[in-house]
Amino acid sequence: MKGEDKYWTEVILPKKGNFDLRLHELWHFKDLLSLLVRRDFVSVYKQTVLGPAWYFIQPLLTTLMMWVVFSKIAHISTDSLPPVLFYLIGNIAWSYFAACLNKTSNTFIANAGIFGKVYFPRLIIPLSTVVSSLFAFFTQLILFAGFLIYYVYQGFDFHVNIGLLVIPYFIFLMALLGLGMGIIISSLTTKYRDLSFLLVFGVQLYMYITPVIYPVSSISVELRKYILLNPMTSVIEGFRYAFLGKGMLDFGQIMYTTVFSIVVLLIGVLIFNKVERNFMDTV
């Protein structure tokens, strides 16, 4: 029996293990991943007038609006940091997470055409979105660096700190969490289309319970323990700590976010794997 199993290169069965990720297969398609990233990269701003300038315009306008509304009008604290820097870094980090979540959440619906015709590991698609969203993120980070240099030149007190070393890990955490939540939603939207509408403002609401437009330090102690339950809190605060010197860099919180993200991703993969096999029959 063992010998016969070796004979076949592929055995198609009704069910596979829930966590059978077929990593070797994913590995075989690694070139597809890089080509999909390249496709997103090349095609996204084609035939737009401003092209990649949109990468700058989006966070700048949002930051400007937040500055006016939350700082000037509502007088919400920015931890005594320059409001532009405060909002900009929060926005850039948040929009990477939001992009991961939003874009992976329509994996099945948006790719039903391809999925219905060829087989390749479906997970490649959300993975490629998470990677290609990095491009916008890093471009915006350069924009932020420009502002930071300007403000330092103007006398803003900035010291390179240990937090910068954790930034890659924060990015990784956001990718993990965004991907996990995104594929859960994408799996559910194959059955419930209304979830995709819910998602649009769900992500917006989520931003308000994440300390993007306010610092954790401005939150009262009794409310703070709830804010800290949000896995994105430590990420945004960590970003601020790394680049602006004020915020929160708490090992326990980062561990909490890590565990939370991994659990979400595992649940996501579980559901995704289940849906992947038969979603063509229900779409």
């Binding site: 004979y7 076949w8 290169t9 592929e10 055995v11 198609i12 069965l13 009704p14 069910k15 075989h28 398609f29 070139d31 597809l32 890089s34 080509l35 999909l36 390249r38 496709r39 090349v42 095609s43 084609k46 035939q47 055409g113 391809i114 999925f115 219905g116 015709k117 060829v118 087989y119 390749f120 059955k191 419930y192 289309r193 209304d194 979830l195 096999r277 038969n278 063509m280 029959d281 229900t282």
Partner: protein
């Protein structure tokens, strides 16, 4: 050597209520179920089938078993909905089977739908790489075959142009070129004949022939029996999700065509009380007469109309006009004119084999007296002629109103 082994393969689809599509609807259904009420999503008048175990399902495939040996070209035929596409979908892992298993030895690739994943904004070159990767090639593999692919596609000059500027023909050619260079051990070809121009079809089937000549395995699904007959060695006939017959391709095609026996043929018969006609001429029947279960281009057949004449000595000739489905007149032929006795008469038009082309035809009968139409019987009956060609490299529709083989040809 066996390269594909399909065992007890079944595929079940849920029907009807599966996609309520909105969460609210499902919550409603759930609440109703909890309270033991009727499912509000059920169609009125249909009893709640959710309570039954199996009522809501349909078997698209049921207990399919077959094996394919290396180098075989297997034709899978059957009517629409027989389960052909479902088999291919399972083989290419697009959807999973409900029960049973498929074992495959070697790389499998399908020409199901060429051009999958092409992005209009990307250049031809970029799309070759992207499409190749979607189909399972590595970058290195694509790079190695790149020149060959471009050559085969014939779009060399435009390879750095975004494919949205391509004509649809170029687009398909490029897409096919990529798929054709996958070099799989097992190739799945599905209805490619439906798309593309004649030259493209030739290329596709030429490639298929090459592949099978190299000793690789091909699964071919098509409604084009000419192509199936010329290309395949063995066949499977599917009916209602089950294998009806497995055999050499000849008998399989016969059985397939037998399923349509009488389908494309409309024979009409009337009684004296409802007969079309006039007081003098009343049509009893209009039909075709032939041997076997269907008319192919190689079948001689008779077009017949029977009618009653109610007036002794009424002079009539029956003039039969044959129309194709595009309302073109194929030809018009008449009987001699005779003075009919009162009673039943029969006009027969003897159509030899290898005169007609394949297609649908309608019969119109003129009952002419003294050179003027006395009664015109429109669409008296209709029939279909099925193509049947051997040893051909051209599988497309044979054009022309007729295909007369009494025309002698000579090439010096």
């Amino acid at each position: 050597m066996i390269v594909i082994k399909v065992e007890n393969l079944s595929k079940q689809y849920r029907l009807g209520v599966v996609s309520s599509k909105t969460l609210a609807a499902d919550v409603n259904r759930f609440l109703a179920k909890v309270r033991g009420k009727e499912d509000p999503m059920m169609t009125v008048g249909v009893e709640n089938r959710l309570n039954t175990v199996d009522g809501d399902y349909i078997w698209a495939l049921k207990d399919i078993n077959f094996e394919v040996n290396e180098g075989e070209v297997l034709g899978i035929v059957g009517k629409n909905g027989a389960g052909k596409s479902t088999i291919l979908k399972i083989l290419s892992k697009v959807t999973a089977p409900t029960t049973g298993s498929v074992k495959i030895k070697g790389r499998i690739a399908s020409l199901l739908e060429v051009g999958t994943g092409f992005h209009p904004e990307l250049t031809g070159k970029e799309n070759i790489f992207l499409n190749g990767a979607i189909l399972g090639m590595t970058k290195a593999e694509i790079r190695r075959k790149f020149d060959e692919i471009v050559e085969f596609s014939g779009v060399g000059k435009y390879i750095d142009t975004p494919v949205k500027r391509y004509s649809s023909g170029m687009y398909v050619r490029l897409a096919f070129a990529v798929a054709a260079h996958l070099e799989p051990e097992i190739l799945i070809v599905d209805e490619v004949l439906a798309v593309g121009d004649a030259e493209f079809q030739k290329k596709v089937l030429g490639k298929m022939k090459d592949v099978s000549k190299q000793g690789r395995t091909v699964l071919f699904v098509s409604h084009n029996m000419v192509a199936v007959k010329s290309l395949c060695t063995k066949g499977i006939l599917l009916e209602n999700g089950m294998i009806k017959e497995q055999d050499l391709i000849g008998p399989i095609i016969d059985s397939y065509l037998n399923q349509f026996a009488g389908k494309g043929i409309i024979n009409n018969e009337w009684t004296k009380s409802n007969a079309p006609g006039t007081d003098i001429i009343k049509v009893k029947s209009a039909y075709v007469e032939f041997k076997g279960s269907h008319i192919t281009v190689n079948t001689p057949f008779n077009i017949i109309t029977e009618f009653w004449c109610e007036e002794e000595g009424f002079p009539v000739n029956v003039s039969m006009v044959l129309w194709d489905k595009n309302q073109n007149c194929v030809f018009n032929i008449s009987t001699e004119n005779i003075e009919l006795e009162k009673g039943l008469h029969k006009a027969t038009f003897n159509i030899p084999e290898q005169l007609m082309n394949d297609g649908y035809y309608y019969v119109q009968n003129y009952f002419v007296t003294n050179s003027t139409p006395h009664f015109i019987h429109n669409e008296a009956n209709a029939f279909e002629i099925i193509d049947d060609r051997d040893n051909t490299d051209w599988y497309g529709k044979w054009i022309g109103a007729v295909r007369p083989n009494f025309v002698k040809t000579e090439l010096l």
